[in-house]
Symmetry: C2
Subunit: 216 residues, 2 copies
């Protein structure tokens, strides 16, 4: 296996956490997003979406490039079932996937590099772009806090007392929120779970500043 | 089961297709997004994200509200396995989920109603907002076309010769593209698969203009 990653990509961060939770340590290739390496060979040919992460794997029918962080993590969970990242019951699985998708679909895509770049190209100042970023974080985290605080299935982590897929998505999103200095006082449940996660080595070792390609 | 839906929501459209493919016909409740009903009681209390679709289900431990279209569809696939919406092999499942997530994460969230409304509030004209919409459709569909055209696992549908999760996501996105008059000539594989899907009753009956709450 080879993971194509960038230290600051929160989608790559998710996959790094999942790999660590599974005890897997694939080779790594670094794709410098701010220098545009995702849109040039060799990476552009690997993933026509020009997004990290991508995971190269060898399967029974040859070599494959897996894309999309959630699809990669579900693949890792299916092929390396212990420890599980999803609960066993369909209703629990639906809940955890919905929490993960609330981050993956409704917060993160609005704030990734290409979207912020587009806003700048449309004439917006850095301040307006940061305001956009913080707006979608606030909308998304407010909903997530309500969903987690109001459900007895929330435990030490998003779903019970073991970390899983929803936690894997939450932690990189909270890191982005802190990086943009978003006010977080309104999300006590998210803060508590984020802290519980980051105390685990699998989460801590996946953090952007711990990666070989990290920059100040 | 009760589905909370809006005829023009492409996330609700996905779930309608999946329900039809499974032969399920839950009760429906209509949430008028353009009138803001998603942010007011009773719906706002059901889903703190204020997004459709939501699916109310009765489980072994009581009543639950499922959110996020992809989580709902995976739940339906797990609880009603025939016909399957995902292939049996983990690599195939990863491919189909990645195609679905490319739509769900990297095209649709940039073009939903609340995002377009935010751009207008930031001073952009309808023409600029439409341009934003078409830009992200073009970026996303170009990548999807490359991924589908370049893979021998693509068949009559996105993955082989039976419709599945990726097709369920593709068709509503193509409908949005047509509604905004996006040029589609560059996507022959997507056009072919979209047409094959729409010839099936499960897809046809889920179309926005066939819904009880449809408006001109």
């Amino acid at each position: 296996m080879k993971l194509h990653t960038y230290f600051r990509s929160s989608a790559a961060y998710r996959v790094r956490i999942a790999l660590n939770l599974k005890g897997l340590a694939p080779d790594q290739a670094f794709v410098h997003l701010r220098r545009g390496e995702q849109a040039r060979p060799p990476f552009a040919a690997l993933n026509p979406e020009h997004l990290v992460p991508a995971l190269e794997v060898d399967g029974p029918d040859g070599h494959h490039v897996l894309t999309q962080s959630l699809a990669i993590i579900e693949y890792l969970d299916e092929t390396h079932p212990a420890p599980p990242l999803l609960p066993a019951d369909p209703l629990g699985r639906a809940r955890v996937r919905a929490l993960a998708l609330a981050v993956a679909c409704d917060i993160h895509p609005l704030n990734n590099l290409r979207v912020l770049g587009r806003l700048k190209a449309m004439g917006h100042s850095q301040e307006e772009v940061d305001d956009w970023y913080r707006h979608w974080i606030a909308v998304g985290l407010t909903a997530l806090e309500a969903q987690l605080a109001g459900d007895p299935r929330t435990g030490r982590f998003c779903h019970g007392d073991a970390p899983g897929l929803a936690d894997v998505l939450l932690v990189p999103q909270m890191a982005n929120a802190r990086r943009l200095a978003c006010p977080l006082d309104g999300y006590p449940t998210l803060l508590r779970i984020d802290e519980a996660c980051r105390s685990l080595p699998a989460f801590a070792a996946a953090a952007p500043d711990r990666q070989p390609d990290a920059e100040a």
